[in-house]
């Protein structure tokens, strides 16, 4: 049965390997260059405990050079979805073409059939997504050191366990829909739409609130304003508030202390201090990164388990 599954998946595995190979080649080539630049131009030293005075220029130059690459590579966000659909497609095709009837009338029960098939498909998906995640984690090292892995959305989407769970969710969604409707093209369409809808709504609406965010209210009087929410925290928003954290609107702030009417930044800050205007930063501390990864992975794996259960039940009891 493992042989049969492998034989049916062979073509898709080759495509997946080719895609992964091309992306790996591009990532390794650019990643090596970036890592070398990171060391040679002194960005690495700037991230360390004793940054030199010209660090601002050095880091800025690095960002100018490689920020575009980060954006481009960030578009690979859809890759776990692609792996999932690619490896799930032969299963759905078999349901559409009715060849499962051939398999189910050999000397193997459909429960054994579905268990082995799903195990192989999930294994392949995890392998591909795992390799991709490792590559991305290595590639993004400079940016993670500079910005913190939590504070950039890409860090969260490409690293840790979350991307593996995205791929697993994509493949189980495709297979479940395909098993229910037994049409490959509509199943892929529904899976893509469902995946994007869930992934984007979790990203934008749910992830920032897995735990209530922390607030940092800091005064503009004295040196305290230099302290932030800590290195690597995920800044959700920053604005104005009174000392107790009640928000103050931009309009009010400009009415009270219009930056245009002050000679210097320091004068503006004194005005803020005089009117008891504080800066309010809403953030998730860096220490919560793995907890949030765990929650997000749990959501996607939980849904995947549900989809797998539906698939297996449907195959055992509903398909003739």
């Amino acid at each position: 049965m493992i042989w049969l599954t492998w034989r049916q998946q062979r073509f898709e595995v080759l495509i997946g390997a080719a895609v992964l190979g091309l992306i790996a080649a591009a990532l390794i080539a650019t990643g090596l260059q970036m890592a070398a630049d990171y060391q040679q131009t002194g960005v690495a030293a700037c991230v360390g405990p004793h940054p030199s005075t010209n660090c601002f220029t050095i880091v800025d130059a690095f960002r100018n050079r490689f920020g575009g690459w980060e954006g481009t590579v960030g578009r690979l966000n859809f890759l776990p979805l692609v792996f999932g659909l690619l490896f799930g497609a032969p299963f759905v095709l078999e349901m559409e073409q009715g060849t499962y009837r051939l398999a189910w009338t050999q000397s193997i029960t459909r429960t054994q059939w579905v268990a082995i098939k799903l195990a192989v498909i999930l294994g392949l998906t995890l392998l591909a997504a795992g390799i991709f995640t490792l590559l991305m984690t290595w590639w993004r090292l400079p940016f993670d050191h500079l910005d913190g892995v939590f504070n950039s959305q890409d860090g969260f989407d490409f690293e840790g366990t979350a991307p593996l769970s995205y791929a697993v969710f994509a493949v189980t969604l495709g297979i479940a829909v395909g098993t229910l409707i037994r049409k490959t093209v509509p199943a892929v369409g529904i899976a893509v739409a469902g995946f994007l809808a869930l992934r984007l709504s979790i990203l934008n609406f749910l992830r920032p609130h897995y735990l209530p965010p922390a607030h940092m209210v800091s005064s503009f009087a004295g040196p305290a304003r230099l302290s932030g929410p800590g290195r690597g925290a995920w800044i959700l928003s920053s604005g104005w508030s009174d000392r107790l954290g009640h928000p103050i609107s931009d309009v009010t702030v400009i009415q009270l202390c219009n930056p245009a009417s002050f000679p210097s930044k320091i004068a503006v800050f004194s005005c803020f201090a005089a009117h008891h205007i504080y800066s309010d930063t809403v953030y998730q501390p860096a220490s919560r990164f793995w907890l949030f990864q765990g929650i997000e992975t749990g959501i996607f794996l939980g849904l995947s388990a549900l989809l797998l259960a539906v698939t297996v039940w449907w195959i055992r009891y509903r398909i003739t």
Partner: protein
Amino acid sequence: MSTALETTSLGKRYGRLWALRDCFLQVPAGCVAALVGPNGAGKTTLLHLAVGLSRPTTGHVTVFGRTPRDGTAFLSMVGFLAQDHPLYRTFTVAEMLEMGHKLNPRWDASLAASRLQALTIPLEQKVGKLSGGQQSQVALALTLAKRPQILLLDEPLASLDPLARREFLQMLMTAVAEDGLTVLLSSHIITDLERVCDYLVILSGGRVQLAGEIDEISRRHKVLSGPRRDEEAVAAVHNVIEVNHTVRQTTLLVKVNGQLFDPSWDVHDVSLEDIVLAYLGQPPINDLAAGTRNHVEALV
């Protein structure tokens, strides 16, 4: 004679529609049984239930005493050829045989290979590139090499040309003679099957209209013809299947119970094809109320 396939009160409902209902069958071991009926009669449903592809709504089915719930032990005993004989189109013929080898404990590799060789079907050819007839031969070779005790074939002749049909039926006869295989094959025509089958099941409207050994069926069905009259007197003793009145003459196709005593009828033998057509021509009994015309009777 032992029973190969037995169904008890077997029924399958899709939504509100019964595809098969109240099906009682006992197909004897070692026979070639024809399952005949028009499209939509429930032939495929019956075969799918028998091989465990679908689950019965009512009743149950056993094959040599085992049910589809017995899993591998059941499946290894039953050879099934689906109507559209699905195959993995991207596989080569050799790879299809490899699949059979991997998934069946009693796989007979030499049987499959020699059969395909005899038909000059190249093993390295992709299945999708074969002709329809060749594909059904590959599917059949797979089914036979599994070494089942019973073969369930859904419309196996439909995709074959007349020559291939004859070869196929000869092969079937050989397999039955050599291995004591039991065969149940469905068809919407009886003509081709008459020479090879010794058991007949007529299915219509989801119900078994007639089941029995063909010799017995032929012996018990007669055409009576005589001067025009009412058929009531005959129907009191025998089962009247078909009635034809012309201006002067009445012709009846009856299933005879016991002896025919009335000498005013001319009694003729009737071909199997005509018997089948007579059963299919009459409105199928679809509910219990119509059971008064009690010709659903297994002639075991």
